[in-house]
């Protein structure tokens, strides 16, 4: 049996070398669809972070109950229950955010990152490590989503975190530019692909320069 991974390597994997959004390219549907502005991105990123942390913890706690044969349906059930609970909570206490993100909150269930981490990590490690792994994977997804959202909103509308007060109860985040004409392409779906492609290209360029095989 291998030694369990260190906290440092778990964090490094989720945030950088195994990043869900940038390296594994999992969960692209929400990544591309909800990154049209920074507030939506932050909202869905936080919901996903919470979801993957909780599902990882729950699955690790239940790993001796689920066994090997029926583990996949058991994971599906745990993930669906946790995400539904998060959706109910958002509807109750952040109704504005729920109105904007709508279908994308229940769709967290289908984010392959959750199932992937459940199978590859949480079902094989103790709850503390599983929770840290979920947190690190979720944070990795959050920063990529938030970066793309901020890029698209800044380019497309000249503002940053517009609507944060109404949707997240965080009015101090909002930044509005002056008279910016707007750049429509950034806000349209194409802008999401362009932003993600630029980020991936930047990462590759950086890796090539450092002499890491691409």
């Amino acid at each position: 049996m291998k030694n369990p991974p260190s906290a440092r390597s778990i964090l490094e994997y989720g945030l950088a070398s195994g990043n869900v959004g940038l390296v594994q390219l999992l969960g692209l549907c929400p990544l591309l669809a909800v990154s049209n502005n920074a507030v939506n991105a932050l909202g869905l990123g936080l919901a996903t972070l919470l979801a993957v942390t909780l599902t990882n913890t729950a699955i690790s706690l239940l790993r001796h109950v689920t066994g090997r044969e029926v583990r996949i349906p058991a994971f599906v059930m745990v993930i669906a229950a946790v995400v539904t609970a998060i959706e109910l909570a958002i509807r109750a206490w952040l109704p504005g955010l729920h109105a904007v993100l709508g279908l994308f909150i229940p769709l967290i269930v289908t984010n392959c990152a959750l199932m992937g981490r459940a199978e590859a990590f949480a079902s094989r490690h103790d709850p503390a490590r599983a929770a840290l792994d979920g947190f690190s994977i979720g944070l990795g997804f959050l920063w990529v989503l938030l970066l793309i959202g901020a890029m698209r909103e800044l380019l497309g509308e000249g503002s940053l975190f517009a609507g944060a007060g109404e949707l997240l109860h965080l009015p101090w985040l909002e930044m509005k530019g002056g008279n910016y004409p707007g750049f429509l392409v950034a806000v349209l779906p194409m802008g999401a692909f362009l932003a993600l492609a630029s980020l991936i290209a930047l990462r590759q360029a950086w890796r090539l320069r450092r002499g890491v095989a691409a």
């Binding site: 058991a74 229950a81 609970a85 109910l88 109750a92 109704p95």
Partner: protein, 219 residues
């Protein structure tokens, strides 16, 4: 053979335990959030109504005092909800749901507030799929265009000028998007005509009643 059956039962039991845990979690969260969700939905519905019906215009429970109207030729919807505002017991206005079915990308859903004299208190677009950057300027947060309906009546502008400028009317169109504002202007005009023709029946109906109007506005 016995071993396989034993394994299957065992697996089913394991799944059952997980299902029980999931049900317990969801039941708990549901109990906890049921109240706040109902409250926030009610508040959101009322906030939407208040955009087109200023709070000073009524003192009744706007959300509960409503009738269902089946008047597809007038409101563009198979069934629309109309909220009735009252001040000191007297009718002071109506909030109508309406639909402009002929937008550039299909339906444009509207909420229209009208006072007792048939004057528009406000119009808001509640849902649409118009082109971002062109047709979406009918949204209040994109441009002030939708506020151009405030204080209008069926005589102001006169009936022949309830159109966009390109068609010889009084309402601005957008550069590159005429279809969208044309559809909205038409839907608002038909809603005003509906209030003029059938407003009395709606104001006097029992709360919660369903009314049906099969006639159509003059073209």
């Amino acid at each position: 053979m016995r071993g396989i059956a034993h394994n299957a039962v065992h697996a089913a039991l394991r799944l059952g335990v997980v299902a029980l845990a999931a049900v317990a979690l969801l039941a708990g969260v549901h109990l906890l959030t049921r109240g706040p969700i109902a409250e926030s939905e009610r508040r959101a519905a009322l906030q939407a109504l208040e955009l087109v019906m200023p709070a000073a215009q009524y003192d009744n429970d706007l959300l509960d005092d409503r009738v269902h109207v089946q008047a597809p030729a007038w409101l563009g919807l198979p069934s629309a909800t109309v909220h009735r505002a009252r001040l000191d017991g007297r009718p002071s206005g109506l909030v109508l749901e309406a639909n402009a079915p002929d937008g550039y990308a299909g339906d444009i859903r509207l909420l229209i507030g009208v006072d007792a004299e048939g004057r528009i208190l406000g119009v808001r677009v509640t849902a649409h799929a118009e082109t971002p950057g062109l047709g979406d300027r009918i949204e209040e947060r994109r441009s002030g265009w939708i506020r151009g309906f405030d204080s209008r009546t069926l005589d102001q502008p006169p009936p022949g000028r309830w159109k966009v400028r390109r068609d010889g009317g009084d309402f601005d169109q957008f550069a590159g998007a005429t279809v969208t504002p044309r559809a909205v202007v038409k839907a608002v005009r038909k809603a005003l005509q509906f209030v003029q023709r059938h407003g009395e029946a709606i104001r006097t109906a029992e709360p919660g009643a369903t009314l049906r109007f099969d006639d159509a506005p003059a073209p």
